[in-house]
């Protein structure tokens, strides 16, 4: 089976679109939150929104790890490069996120910071081995998908007795974020979005399994359908959610059966709990402080914890007053509701992280969908 072709088949898409339109009851509205940034991106890139009936809306959630990274953490990474002269290894998307003093990791690099883009944690380890005389820090971000590789790399560094490698750990957890959306006081202050169900994240679920979502389904009476990243996966999941809502069910269903099991990847979970433990609290951009929502490195591996090694303190930095990333990340507002969208805030000059990351709701809408906001004259 050629995944790339078959899961993007236009005819299958149209058939699914017809099914969804037929089964969505005309007398009610449906709002489903796709939590994961990869899904936001797929929906925008393939124009899935257009294939859904007008009474069915997709709400973009905070599942983009770059988007929820607070300015203060990027400041820490920049400081390590510019002031402490460490080699900072980071994923590509993080490079352009705007931080304090008009800097970003990319701008800090232009000022002489040794900041290197890597595709994986293992690459950062290679840099450390190749530069024994320099401190090397891996800026570890991401949800549960990227956490096992970071854990493996820390364990490997310990086994090799590396003296110059550490990790700035900003890994965050999916279930905490979903709970926070559904019940935090801040959400009540901004007003809740009527969410009828969730499209559950794809790769995160490969690691954690489908079991952790049972909690939301039961406690909050919201259906969850875990979906793969291909556009047909997303549409199939939407159909399954429509059916659950119509039938009054609130269950966890798995559309991504080719990769996700109920218990997830036990080996990955084991290595993660060997190396990491929960932080009591962690600031998320746009969501404020969320309890037990992020990871820190266990004392046994303290030598590889950049925060300890460099004596870093966390300093929270507020967003631009008119930046609506916070509300957008919670699904309370849309990109076009933000006064800065498309004017001051563009991919070239991003004010907030929703515009920088390719998975951010604002970046996705700007890149793929903003032509719909403006009437266009056809030839």
């Amino acid at each position: 089976m050629k995944y790339v072709d078959e899961y993007r088949d236009g005819d299958a898409a149209r058939r699914l679109a017809d099914r969804i339109a037929a089964e969505a009851r005309p007398d009610r509205r449906y709002a489903f939150m796709e939590f994961c940034g990869g899904h936001t991106h797929a929906i925008a890139r393939y124009g899935i929104g257009e294939l859904l009936p007008p009474n069915l809306r997709m709400v973009h959630g905070p599942g983009c790890p770059v988007c929820v990274l607070p300015i203060g953490r990027i400041d820490q990474a920049i400081g390590l490069a510019l002031e402490r002269e460490a080699i900072v290894c980071t994923y590509g998307d993080t490079m352009r996120v705007p931080a304090s003093a008009g800097l970003s990791l990319m701008k800090a690099k232009a000022r002489g910071g040794d900041i290197r883009m890597v595709y994986s944690a293992a690459d950062a380890l290679k840099v450390a081995r190749a530069n024994p005389g320099r401190e090397v820090v891996f800026f570890a971000i991401g949800f549960e998908t990227t956490t096992p590789p970071t854990a493996l790399v820390i364990r490997q560094a310990a086994a090799e007795g590396l003296q110059n490698f550490s990790v700035l750990c900003c890994h965050v957890l999916t279930p905490s974020a979903i709970t926070h959306i559904l019940e935090s006081p801040e959400v009540r202050e901004y007003g809740t979005v009527p969410i009828d169900g969730f499209v559950g994240p794809a790769h995160v679920s490969i690691v954690i399994g489908s079991a952790p979502y049972e909690h939301f389904a039961e406690e909050y009476r919201k259906p969850v359908v875990i979906a793969g990243f291909e556009p047909l996966d997303v549409m199939q999941a939407v159909l399954m959610l429509v059916r659950q809502v119509n039938e009054g069910r609130a269950e966890v269903e798995n559309e991504f059966t080719r990769a996700v099991t109920p218990e997830g990847n036990r080996a990955a979970q084991a290595v993660v709990s060997e190396v990491f433990e929960l932080r009591e609290r962690f600031e998320w951009r746009g969501l404020g402080e969320v309890p037990y929502s992020a990871l820190k490195i266990r004392p046994a591996f303290a030598a590889f914890d950049a925060e300890l090694r460099f004596g870093l303190h966390y300093q929270g930095v507020p967003d631009h007053k008119q930046c609506e990333c916070g509300a957008i990340l919670r699904g309370v507002k849309r990109p076009t509701d933000c006064k800065l969208f498309g004017t001051v805030c563009t991919p070239d000059n991003p004010m907030g992280s929703c515009m920088v990351s390719s998975e951010g709701a604002c970046a996705a809408h700007y890149a793929y969908g903003r032509f719909k906001d403006i009437p266009v004259v056809a030839a």
């Binding site: 236009g10 393939y46 124009g47 257009e50 352009r96 700007y366 793929y368 969908g369 032509f371 030839a379």
Partner: protein, 349 residues
């Protein structure tokens, strides 16, 4: 001992040093034994700092220039030398001109192996000969170790276009057809596969090639003026180039994703790396905006040439004051194909 004996350059073990750029004997020797020998033509044999050139009557001059900083220097399907010839020849050809002459300027880093330099220069000479465009003048400078990345090459090309011919980015009109001469994304992926931290196995090779023969065949097959715009989608790929044309001409462009030719291996590599083939550099392809009435003839002419076998009609020009490039996705939806704000892959050409 032979009189006038000059010990030849050691191309096996030797390295570029500061003397080679100082304009003295060592520099002259490098020019004689490497550059002049490889490029060898009447112009260079004069031994002057410039070249005296003839221009065909009834023609206008076209000039184009390119700097080449590609890393790595050698990649599947090519090297910086061949690239520097093809790139400039193509820029001249994109105005509908016949490329006639090239200049080549080398900035060498102290310590660069002469063996690699020889390989690059000979590759350049082969590309120049194959294209029928001689390198008629050049220059060499050397910078200290650490101040240059091996070698940078700048080439300038001169060509001749029949007086009155106008082909340019501002000339696309609503209703025109948009064609592409072949499959996309190969150069960028081939280069990426050689970069240090990203070694992955692939059979993809760069498509670097001189396109002036293809362009000549195309222009001969349609009436003068039918081809509005020619442009090769290098840095930033098809998407960026189409956005440039849309902006210059004050029009919109509408694409059909299913019609855009991309090799399955390139699709797969892009999926793996999270890249979009529409934004990846090509060095042997061109975009053709042509009067729709002559689109089929244009396509036939492209496909009849070895470098245009996979040519395809991918869209049309629309009347759009916002100058969007839009696309009907394979999936049945629509999206904008926007400018990128930065380079997905740095040092790609």
């Amino acid at each position: 001992m032979k009189k006038d004996y000059l010990r030849p350059l050691d191309f096996k073990q030797g390295r570029v040093d500061m003397n080679h750029g100082a304009g003295g004997r060592a520099a002259a020797q490098l020019v004689d034994e490497l550059f002049a020998r490889a490029f060898d033509n009447d112009f260079l044999r004069q031994g002057d700092d410039g070249a005296l050139l003839d221009m065909p009557p009834g023609h206008q001059l076209v000039m184009a220039t390119d700097g080449h900083v590609i890393s790595p220097l050698f990649f599947p399907g090519g090297d910086i030398g061949a690239l520097s010839v093809h790139g400039t020849v193509n820029d001249v050809a994109m105005l509908g001109a016949k490329p006639l002459y090239l200049s080549a300027s080398f900035i060498l880093e102290e310590g660069f192996p002469l063996a690699d330099l020889k390989r690059i220069v000979e590759s350049m000479a082969a590309a120049s000969r194959e294209a029928g465009v001689p390198v008629v003048t050049g220059d060499t400078k050397v910078v200290e170790r650490g101040k240059g990345d091996g070698v940078f090459i700048a080439t300038t090309g001169l060509g001749a276009v029949p007086a009155g011919r106008r082909i340019g980015g501002a000339l696309a009109r609503p209703g025109d057809a948009v064609l592409v001469s072949g499959t996309l994304g190969e150069h960028g992926v081939a280069v990426l596969s050689k970069r240090e931290s990203l070694e992955f196995e692939t059979a993809i090779v760069s498509d670097t090639a001189a396109l002036h023969g293809l362009v000549a065949q195309l222009l001969a097959a349609v009436p003068e003026g039918a081809v509005r715009t020619l442009r090769d989608p290098t840095r930033g790929g098809l998407a960026t180039t189409l956005n440039e044309i849309a902006r210059q001409s004050g029009v919109g462009i509408d694409l059909d994703e299913a019609a855009i030719p991309v090799l399955p291996q390139v699709e797969a590599a892009c999926e793996l790396l999270g890249l979009d083939p529409l934004y990846i550099a090509n060095e042997g392809k061109c975009i053709v905006v042509v009067d729709a009435a002559h689109a089929e003839a244009a396509l036939d002419a492209l496909r009849a040439h070895p470098l245009g076998r996979a040519a395809a009609r991918i869209g049309r020009v629309t009347d759009d004051p916002h100058r969007f490039v839009q696309m009907a996705t394979r999936f049945g939806g629509r999206r904008v194909v926007d400018w990128l704000s930065g380079e997905q892959l740095p040092r790609i050409c």
